[in-house]
Each structure stands twice: as C-alpha cells, then as structure tokens.
Symmetry: C2
Subunit: 339 residues, 2 copies
C-alpha cells in the first residue's frame, strides 16, 4: 500500500511547472496540422509559428486555467489559439511596417513576397478560428468565440491607430495609452480570461484576471518601447532604433515632447519631418535628447506603476495564495527577463 | 367573415419573391453596424459592401432556406455573412492583383492605401465571424462554423493556386478546373448549404444543393473568363482584357494552347513572355488567336455542360416541384443576365 501512495502527488503540491507547460506548448505548435497544398499558403504559417518567442500568450491561457481549476494539461491545444492569432497579426503587421526582420529572421514578405504574406495571413486567421472550434467545449464555445472576435477587432483597431499616429505630428499620452491597450494589452487580458473561462471561474475572477492581463500588457509595451532604443541588438532580434527611424509615436517620444524646451522641441521636430537622413545619425540625435530629458527613467517608473497595479488587481481575483504566487512569479520572470 | 379570409394568402402561392428578397438583402447590408473608430478601418468595409454586385451568394442562402422550408425572411441577417466574406476576398484579392477598379469604382487600396486595405480586410473577416455568430441559432452554430472555416480555407487555397498559375508557362485544364472550384465555386455551394442547414434539411438534400452550387459556380467562372475578353466595358466594370495582360491562365488561354498549331503556340508564348508591350496590341493579338481557334465556342459549350449537370443535381435534391422551379429560374436569370 505504501508504494501506491508514493506515486500519488498530494493536491497541495500540484504546483504549476513552467518548464513542462512551455514544452507542452512548443510540442503542440510543432504538431499543428494546418494543410499541405498549395505549399506557398502553408509554409509561411509554419515558418512564423516556428520562429519562437516567449509564447507568453498561450502560457497565460494555461495560467488562467490553472489559477481557477488547479490543472492546465488538457488546455494546451486550446491555448495555441492565442499564439496563432498573435503570429497572424505579426505576419500582417510586418507587411504594413515593411519590417525586414522578425526575431532575427527574414519576415514572411521578405522570404516569400507580399502577396503570399497577405494570403497566408488570411488563411492563418481562418485556421485560428478552426482551431478554436476544434478544441473548446461546445458549452463554452459561443461565449468564448464572441470574446475572441471582440478582442481580434480591438487588436485591428489598435494597429490602425498606430498607423494613423505615424502620420501625425503630435499624439497625446492618453491617445498613446489607448492605442497600446488595444494593440497589445487586450490579447494578454483575453488569454487569461480564456483560461479562466475554460476553468469555469466566476465572472468576478474572470474580470480581475482580464484586467491583470491588461495592466501587464501595457507595462510590457512600455518595456518594448524602451528595448527598441536601449535593447541589445542580438537579444532583441529587430532593428535597433527602428521606432525612431519610422517616427513611431512611442512613450519615449511623446514624453520627450512633453518635457522638451524650445530648442529640443525644434530638434525633435526637425528629425520627425526630415525626409532624407542617415539612419544612425537620426537615432543618435533623438536618443541624445531622450537622455537629456531622462525619459527612459520616466518610462521605467510608469511601467512599474502598471505592473504594481496589475498585481493589486490579481490579488483581488480571489485565488488560492499559492496560485496567486504562481501567476505573480510568471509575470515577474517576464518583467525581469529582458532588463 | 369574407373580408378576413381575403387577407390570408393561400400557402401554395407563397412563392419566392426575388425582388423582395433582393431588397431585404440590400437593406440588411445598409444597416450593418460594424464600428466607427478609427474611421480608416471601417469606412473601407462599408465602401466595398456598398459597391453593389448581384448579391448572388446571400440570395443562394435564402433560396437554400426557402427550398427546404418554404420561408426565407428570418434568414436575411445570417445570409449577409457570405456577402461579407466574398467582399473581404475581393478587397484582399484586388491588393494582390493590383487591380485599379472594382465594379467600375476605385479599389480600396487605390482610394485609401495598401496598408488600410490589408488591415480593414482583416477586420472585415473577423466581423464576418462575429456576424455569423450573432445570427445563427446555437444548435446549428458549431456545424455551420466548421463548414464556413473549411470553405474559407478552400477559397484561400484557390486564390494561391491562381497566383501560382501566373508564374507558370503551362497549366493543365484539370488544374485550372480544380482552382476555380476552390476559388469561386465552393462559396456558392456553401451558400446553398448554409440556407439548407438553417432550414433543417436532410443531409441528402444539403449535399445535392451544395453540389448544384459547385456546378453553377464553375459555370459562372467560365462565363467570367469569357466576359473579361468579350464583355462590354461599361457593363463589366473591370479592365477589359485584364486577364490577357496579366497572363492569367483562363479557360480560353488553356484551351487555345491545347488547340494551337506550332505558329499559334509560338505567338501565344511570345505574348506570355514579353516584358514590355502595348496593352491593346497584346489584347488584340491574343484575341485574334482565340477567334481563329474558336475557343469562345468551346467555353460556351463546357459552361453549358456545367449548368446542365447542376440542374440534374438540383432535380435529385428531392425538393417540391415549385421550389425546384424557383431555384432553376434564379440560376437561369443569372446565366442569361450578362450574355
């Protein structure tokens, strides 16, 4: 009898194992069967899914499920949905941004061409819906599908706002935060919500987990803004200073324009309007003003405020202490990873 | 008592009223509420939906519903789904084809720009799913959604095959017919299937109506191939000869290459490979060979075979005679309209 008991884990120790979850996500992505012919349609989808990344969104689905039910293994197939959708947006965003690199590798429209990037992205979005339908119980499907559609639309709205901002001379901090909420944060919120919904959570818990995801997402985007300028090229996998070259209205630029004196404003406006320039010279000049105005420190501060607000919200979700701890530690590990 | 009876229509005369159905479809499209901000995301969707067209696909949904249940009015909101999806594909296809005109009006990527066309198309696909979810009973939703995803993927596959064909020197008739089946016919089949499913039809009837739609769709595409070369510019609303300029592998070209003698083959190959040319000269030269080889007559013949096969399939669907008649007449009216 003792032998048998030795194999049964005690429920209080069934903690969330990050490495197992990560491995299960990677395995599910590798095993994705999307289609074969024409190869031009399916190879780009497998390609962009294989480029890696943190797989943060499916991990948040699993964590949402675990937080409310104590298990996550059976949710892995469903969790891939948010990673598929995220990669679909990357594929099309890269076309719109004319980005040459994604995670250090050629983007789909560079490796193939723009038409293939457009069409394989369309197919990928349809496959995302199909995957959702095939891996979510029928009882939850309508509610989850409705929320997924809302989230997907919000992400499109955020991307359109971001593109609009590139044409504007000035964007307010309020408009900027509204944009990154839509473009980045709602999908993280939805990922946690999806997991909680699959785990049968109360609407109070679902709402709090969603809001936790929103705060995290805004914080992560502020971090991304900083990494574009201050990140290490090898680690970052994108063009360093790409946001400066493209006149992206990031937190850093908006904050700098808020704090700049007349001369600094004139110089920033010069770089925002000049048509022909040496990229590195522009990056160095704008970065120099950022440094004079200490906007990196401001970004750090506001980013940390979002993270703290997120943890306060998480604490209100009514989770068991060790499950709160698991979600807290995961978020912290992401926050620390790229510093 | 006689007065009261006078207001009650006798059931046997509740025929399908095409004009009412058409008006109901247009009204439902006009009333579509998709979203407001950012306007760059939603205006293009309303624009392309407002460009008109035959609205053949939603009409087929209503006809499928009517054929199996005798009523169609309550199905109008759901029927719009296939028109939304169709217009989404047109929006993105026009980007891929660099088409300047759609139904005689500037295409979305010309009126706005390519990025807006890409992103508003993405949003439109998501809105299509949302619309489907909001207007289909929960009992049928999973089955219908699964078939919609399959159909949408097939349409993408067909479009990719079509793009691949542009790069090839030769395409067989078999490959061509497989391509137009996917790119055009499956959505017509699905439209009838959707209506029949909503009307609670047997799987035998659903299958026959789907197959009828497939045959019609292949016939219509053959007609479209002919209209590109032989259509009247004002009626057609697209560039006449656009397929010839773009080296599209249409039925006419493939058939001409099958029948051509050595000299005609050399001339066709010259026009297929020449990089710089006067568009009208190329159109006239290729058309001249088509005329020598009577490929328009061949296209007419095979098109009529598909229509006949479609009507045979429709006759096997087990519909009441007056309902068979209604679907037959609708198809005939479309076939005759553009001759």
């Amino acid at each position: 009898m003792r032998l048998i008991f030795a194999f049964v884990p005690t429920p209080t120790h069934m903690a969330f194992d990050f490495l197992s979850a990560q491995a299960a996500i990677e395995k599910a992505i590798l095993q994705l069967e999307l289609g074969e012919k024409p190869v031009e349609l399916y190879e780009p989808i497998h390609y962009i899914m294989s480029l890696g990344g943190k797989r943060m969104r499916p991990m948040l689905v699993l964590l949402g499920k675990y937080a409310v039910s104590g298990s996550w293994q059976e949710t892995v197939p469903a969790a891939i949905v948010v990673e598929m959708f995220h990669n679909f947006t990357l594929l099309h965003d890269d076309v719109m941004d004319k980005a040459p690199l994604r995670r250090g590798k050629p983007t789909v429209h560079v490796k193939w061409n723009e038409n293939i990037a457009l069409l394989s992205g369309d197919a990928m979005l349809v496959k995302t819906y199909e995957h959702l339908m095939n891996h979510v119980p029928a009882t939850i499907l309508p509610a989850l599908l409705r929320r997924f559609c809302q989230t997907a639309i919000q992400v499109c709205e955020g991307q359109q706002m971001d593109m609009n901002f590139e044409q504007l001379k000035r964007v307010s901090m309020e408009e900027y935060l509204a944009m990154i909420r839509l473009k980045t944060a709602v999908l993280l919120g939805f990922s946690l919500e999806m997991g909680a919904l699959l785990g049968g959570a109360s609407s109070h818990t679902i709402d709090k987990l969603y809001e936790f995801g929103i705060q995290l997402g805004i914080g992560f985007q502020l971090k991304d803004d900083m990494l574009d300028v201050y990140g290490e090229p090898d680690k970052f996998g994108k063009q360093v200073g790409g946001d400066i070259i493209a006149n992206k209205k990031t937190y850093l630029l908006i904050r700098a324009l808020e704090k700049a004196n007349a001369m600094q404003t004139r110089e920033l406006d010069y770089w925002l309007s000049v048509e022909s320039f040496d990229p590195q010279t522009k990056i160095d000049a704008v970065k120099e003003i950022y440094d004079q105005l200490h906007v990196q420190q401001d970004a750090e501060n506001i980013m940390n405020q979002y993270f703290e607000r997120g943890f306060t919200t998480l604490a209100e979700a009514g989770l068991a202490p060790e499950r709160y701890e698991t979600l807290y530690c995961f978020a912290r590990s992401i926050i620390e990873r790229e510093k």
